[in-house]
Structures are given as structure tokens and as C-alpha cells.
């Protein structure tokens, strides 16, 4: 079947990303928006846009009933969920199917299988995919935990069975701390996920977070598109991602890729998906979990492989076969993504909602700006802080880093605080440049990062004083756009017979 009209059940940069892919495929993109988003970029860019409720996501972007009804009313034949919101919600996928809408993502069964961490871990074990040594099932009692811990060895991690985002996790350094940590982790897990089950895992020091992108069609073909290194995180929020990983060589890539494809096949996976691995300093890799959706950081994979992942999702959803094999997937160069969030990195990382009064995005050679905002738009307090993803490609990692440093220097956002200054410092950091990364990298360097200060103190004072001088109106600056015309007017000789209309 051919998709003709796709409703995008999302907002922000990912809605814009999907709109672009639809348009390039000749598909009519349909946006939805909450009351806070009438003037959001995805509304302006779509062919059609429909309101779906008040600002809180629970009353709009998470309302399965309204999304399905809107898709039907608009005559859409498919729904793209983006990431977040309902992207991995099996009930949404089923509601779409029930309404005769193609859900652009994996089948509900695969969503359910991957959403249950224990089931996913069980599948990995069955397939012989390496996992961090630990208990496969949640520990039933403190005694069981103690016995398992003795076998795994200390330090170890407690993790919530239904967890995510760091909640219900505890590092246990010694046997004496186990009982207390169990209590704390269970209580936190119960509060966060409604389930107190926790399991034990060996603690890996200096782990890297490396994930493998897979594509699977509805005809049983599965390929992987190499890995992304996502070790630069703060509170489990990725901030900088890259492909390839500086620590993965072709042999390791082949082994991780093969494991990822095996998982996807066994799970009956269809569409774009990601298998997350933890890699230890000896380059052993361990299955973490599967993300049954397009990832935020998918562009770095696109830039090195030349494969348009959203286009592939659309093709796969339409029932087309991949049409290429693993050997046809060839990576070139290196790509890096930096997340530009409306947060104040030097002010406790507070979110920074507000109006973007000035915006100059980076552009030029091999710079890609996947943005959800524009000058004059409002950054609402109701949604996450991601404004844009700045992505660069370079012939090698060094060239990509230099390009990212250049691009971050060009990127100007006025009106809200952003992560740009700290991203510039990360990209300039010697450990980042050397590829010495782990998920602790950011926690380790952040305390030492402060707003750069010194060299430009006088220039900053001059700018501030001139702004005030101008505001007082005594001696205004030349208006934004005079020059040529003014010079021109002076050169003009009215005596020579010219007259203004």
C-alpha cells in the first residue's frame, strides 16, 4: 500500500523532522497541537493542523482517543508517533490498528515485549546476547538478594524491574549496605512505577553507553546501521551523541550489530529500533534494553550511513522491503549531535521557558539543524526543554569536532538560556577530544565548568552600557538596516532633476 496522508502525533523538532520526511516522500503531513502550540513550528510547517486539547500533555499529546479521532477525521491513513509521548505505547498502536490506521512503528506485541525489561532480558539471555551478570528476575526477598549479591560480587547495582531514568537505582558498595539500599530502591520504584520489584546487576565502572541502530522490514529482513556513542549524559539525559563510537572497531561493531539484529529478529521487530548496550573499559558489551522507537539521536547515524531513517520507517510501514542487505550499509566519516536545550547550565540547569527573541542557527557545510523553534516563538513550560539538535558531519572525528565547535560558536539564541555554552566546553574538553568517555564523564567535569570569564569582560561591559545608552534614547545606534541606502541618499543629487514618487 502507498501512504498518502500521515498524522504526526507529536510536537517540537521530531514533528518537524517527520513532516519533512513526509513531504519528501509525497505524503501529506498532518500536525496536531495543544492550546500552547498553536504557533509552534510543526503547525506552521504541516499541510494541515488540528487542535487536540489543553496544554498539559495528558490532555492533548497523550490523549489516544483524540489523536485517533483526529487522524480519522483528517483522512490520514497512518500515524507517526515520533519519540516520547505515545511512541512506545502498545495501547496506542492497537487503537490505531483498530481504527484502520497504520501505526508507523513496531507491532504492538514487539512494543509490549520490549517495554517489559525482564522479558527483554530473558530474550537476550535465550539468544546468548551478553548481559551484565546479575539476577534475571527480580529478587523475591532480602535473603534471595543477599545470596545473589554474594555470587555477583560487590559493588553492585539495584535496578527497578520497570525502571527508567535512574529511578529505583542504587549503587551498593558492600554487603552491609544491601538491606538499606533494597528498602530505598523498592520504595522509590513503587512510587515511580507502581511496582517495587528490583533486580541485581554487577556494577560496571566507567561504562560507556553505546547503542546499535537496526532497521527491520515486515518481510523478515533486518540490518544494523552501526552504533552511536551516547555516554555524555547528565541525570540519564543524553547531551552529546556521536557515530561511530571512538572505542568501537570493525570487529566489535560486527559483533554488536549481529547481536542487535538477532534480538530484533527474535522479537518480531519491525521499523527502526535501537538496542542499547553498556560497554566496559575492556570493550566487553552487555545488553541493556531495546528502544522500540526512533531515537532523538538518530541523525548521527543518518549522516554517516546516508540512510534516511524516517523515510525508511515510512517505506517499511507501507509494506515495502528494505531492498538492501548488511553489506550495502557503508558508513563514512563521523557525525556528532549536540542537544540545544532551554536550560541554564550555569544556573543549576533550571529549565528556561520564555520567548525566543533572537535566533541565528548555525548552518553551512555539513551542518544540520533539526530544530523545533523559530525567532519569535514561545518555549512553553509544559514540554521538554529540547529546542534543536545541532548535527555535524566530518571526514573524520577530528574534523567533526572542529566543525561542531565552529557551529556552536555560530548558534545564537536570545531570550532563553540554553545548553550551548556548556556544549562548547564539552566539545573543547581534552577527554572528549581524545575519546576518553564514560557515562561519568559529564558528572566528573561539570563541577569544574563555569561560564567562561575574563578575556571579554570589558567587551561585555561595553555592550551592556551601549544597550542602556541606546535604551535611554539619547544617542541611538544606527537602525538595523541602513548603510547602503543612506550612503546612497547622500550621493543622490536632487538638483539633477530627480524627484521622489
Amino acid at each position: 500500500m502507498k501512504l498518502a496522508k500521515v498524522l504526526i502525533a507529536n510536537r517540537g523538532e521530531i514533528a518537524v523532522r517527520v513532516i519533512r520526511a513526509c513531504r519528501e516522500q509525497g505524503i501529506t503531513p498532518v500536525a496536531v497541537f495543544s492550546e500552547a502550540d498553536r504557533e509552534a513550528l510543526h503547525v506552521l510547517m504541516a499541510d494541515e493542523a488540528y487542535p487536540i486539547g489543553p496544554a498539559p500533555a495528558t490532555e492533548s499529546y497523550l490523549r489516544i482517543d483524540r489523536l485517533v479521532a483526529t487522524a480519522k477525521a483528517a483522512g490520514a491513513d497512518a500515524v507517526h508517533p515520533g519519540y516520547g509521548f505515545l511512541a512506545e505505547n502498545a495501547a496506542f498502536a492497537e487503537a490505531c490498528a483498530a481504527a484502520g490506521l497504520v501505526f508507523i512503528g513496531p507491532p504492538p506485541a514487539a512494543l509490549r515485549a520490549m517495554g517489559d525489561k525482564t522479558a527483554a532480558r530473558r530474550l537476550a539471555r535465550t539468544l546468548g546476547v551478553p548481559m551484565v551478570p546479575g539476577t534475571l528476575e527480580p529478587v523475591a526477598s532480602d535473603d534471595a538478594a543477599r545470596a545473589a549479591a554474594a555470587e555477583i560480587g560487590y559493588p553492585l547495582m539495584l535496578k527497578a524491574a520497570l525502571g527508567g531514568g535512574g529511578k529505583g537505582m542504587r549503587l551498593v558498595r558492600a554487603a552491609g549496605d544491601l538491606a538499606g539500599a533494597l528498602r530505598a530502591a523498592r520504595s522509590e520504584a513503587a512510587g515511580a512505577f507502581g511496582d517495587s520489584a528490583v533486580y541485581l546487576e554487577r556494577y560496571v565502572s566507567e561504562p560507556r553507553h553505546i547503542e546499535v541502530q537496526v532497521l527491520a522490514d515486515a518481510h523478515g529482513h533486518v540490518v544494523h546501521l552501526g552504533e552511536r556513542e551516547c555516554s555524555i549524559q547528565r541525570r540519564h539525559q543524553k547531551l552529546v551523541e556521536e557515530s561511530p563510537s571512538p572505542c568501537v572497531d570493525p570487529a566489535l561493531r560486527a559483533r554488536m550489530g549481529e547481536a542487535a539484529c538477532r534480538m530484533a529478529k527474535a522479537a518480531g521487530y519491525v521499523s527502526a529500533g535501537t538496542i542499547e548496550f553498556l560497554v566496559d573499559p575492556d570493550r566487553n558489551f552487555y545488553f541493556l534494553e531495546m528502544n522500540a522507537r526512533l531515537q532523538v539521536e538518530h541523525p548521527v547515524t543518518e549522516m554517516v550511513t546516508g540512510i534516511d531513517l524516517v523515510r525508511e520507517q515510512l517505506r517499511i510501514a507501507a509494506g515495502e522491503p528494505l531492498g538492501y542487505a548488511q553489506a550495502d550499509v557503508v558508513a563514512r566519516g563521523a557525525a556528532i549531535e549536540c542537544r540545544i536545550n532551554a536550560e541554564d547550565p550555569f544556573g543549576g540547569w533550571l529549565p528556561s521557558p520564555g520567548t525566543i527573541t533572537g535566533l541565528r542557527a548555525a548552518t553551512g557545510p555539513w551542518v544540520r539543524d533539526d530544530s523545533g523553534v523559530y525567532e519569535g516563538c514561545t518555549v512553553s513550560r509544559f514540554y521538554d526543554t529540547l529546542l534543536a539538535k545541532l548535527v555535524v558531519w566530518g571526514a573524520d572525528r577530528e574534523a567533526a569536532i572542529a566543525r561542531m565547535a565552529r557551529a556552536l560558536g555560530e548558534y545564537k539564541v536570545v531570550g532563553v538560556r540554553t545548553t550551548i555554552p556548556v556544549l562548547a566546553q564539552i566539545v573543547a574538553h581534552e577527554d572528549f577530544r581524545a575519546g576518553r568517555l564514560s557515562t561519568h564523564f559529564l558528572d566528573r567535569i561539570l563541577p569544574g565548568l563555569t561560564a567562561a570569564r575574563g578575556r571579554l569582560r570589558s567587551v561585555a561591559i561595553i555592550a551592556a552600557v551601549l544597550a542602556e545608552y541606546e535604551r535611554l534614547g539619547h544617542h541611538t545606534l544606527p537602525p538595523p538596516a541602513p548603510a547602503a541606502t543612506d550612503a546612497w541618499r547622500m550621493a543622490f543629487r536632487p538638483g539633477a532633476g530627480g524627484g521622489r514618487r
Partner: protein, 167 residues
């Protein structure tokens, strides 16, 4: 025209002369010749001795946030006489307390204190949820809670007074 620029790390008297894009500024005993243009709302181009700077100047509650190069400065600029009046007598008398105002709009998800509570520096006062993040606010000093002006579930605007502490 004379100004005073107040920065985190000091106070600088600044004198400005000039107009139409060409200025001479005196900072302390340094003289700066500046070619300045406003190229877009809040974005200034400064040429100083051939060196090109682009400075973003944002108003933030009376102070300027200036981003220039990779540096960020928070600067309060006042006319010199106004500065003198404001600071004469050492400014507003220390009130021996602390007021927590909301630095951003959001929703109060948790209030950890009630009037009369004794708190130590670093104790959690309350949590504001905004942009899918929970932001914890802690006491900047030891003291007693004098007022709690918000409750859990309540929406707040940036600048709203949340909690008042007394020593």
C-alpha cells in the same frame, strides 16, 4: 554620559561619548573606540580596533545578560547618579532573612516546610516542576520559616514569592 556597571566581580564606572554608531568609552582609565551596530533585536556588532564581536544582550529583570564569544556576563547598568542614590547608605538595610522567589514559571509539586519550621542551609524547601523536570529549591541559609505562600499543586509565575526565611 556616565554609567556604573555592576558585575558579580566588581563595580566599573563607564563614560560614553559619541553617537550614530561611533563611540568612545572610558572604563576606569582605559579608553575604547567602538564601532557599534544593532543588527537584530538584542544582537550587537562591535568592532573594537578591528576585532569583531557579536554580543547578545538580554534584559533579565533589570540586569543585562550579555553573551559574547563563549562568555556570559550578568551586568547591571545604571546612570551614575542613579547608582549613587541607590547605593548611598549601603543600599537597602539587610533584613536578616531570605526570600525565595520562583525563578521560572511552573507547578509546585512538593512543599517540604511549614511556617515555624527550623531549617538548615541546604535543606529542601520545595520542588517546582517545569518542562518535564523537577527542580528542587533549598535553603540558602539556616533560619526559621516565616511564611510559605504556596501549596503543592499550585501554579506559580517567575518572580512569585514562595517562602520567606528569617534568621
Amino acid at each position: 554620559m556616565r554609567f556604573v556597571a555592576t558585575l558579580e566581580d566588581g563595580v566599573e564606572p563607564v563614560e560614553v561619548r559619541g553617537e550614530g554608531g561611533r563611540y568612545r568609552l572610558t572604563l576606569g582609565d582605559e579608553v575604547w573606540e567602538v564601532d557599534a551596530r544593532l543588527t537584530a533585536q538584542g544582537i550587537y556588532s562591535l568592532l573594537i580596533g578591528g576585532v569583531s564581536h557579536v554580543a547578545e544582550v538580554t534584559d533579565d529583570g533589570g540586569a543585562c545578560v550579555v553573551d559574547v564569544g563563549d562568555e556570559t556576563w550578568v551586568i547591571r547598568v545604571e546612570e551614575a547618579t542613579r547608582h549613587i542614590i541607590r547605593t548611598r547608605g549601603g543600599g537597602p538595610a539587610g533584613h536578616g532573612g531570605q526570600t525565595l522567589t520562583a525563578p521560572l514559571p511552573g507547578r509546585i509539586t512538593h512543599v517540604a516546610v511549614k511556617p515555624g519550621d527550623r531549617v538548615e542551609k541546604g535543606d529542601t524547601l520545595l520542588v517546582i516542576e517545569a518542562m518535564k523536570m523537577e527542580n528542587e529549591f533549598r535553603a540558602g541559609m539556616a533560619g526559621t520559616v516565616a511564611e510559605v505562600r504556596v501549596g503543592a499543586g499550585q501554579a506559580v509565575n517567575a518572580g512569585d514569592v514562595l517562602v520567606v526565611l528569617e534568621t
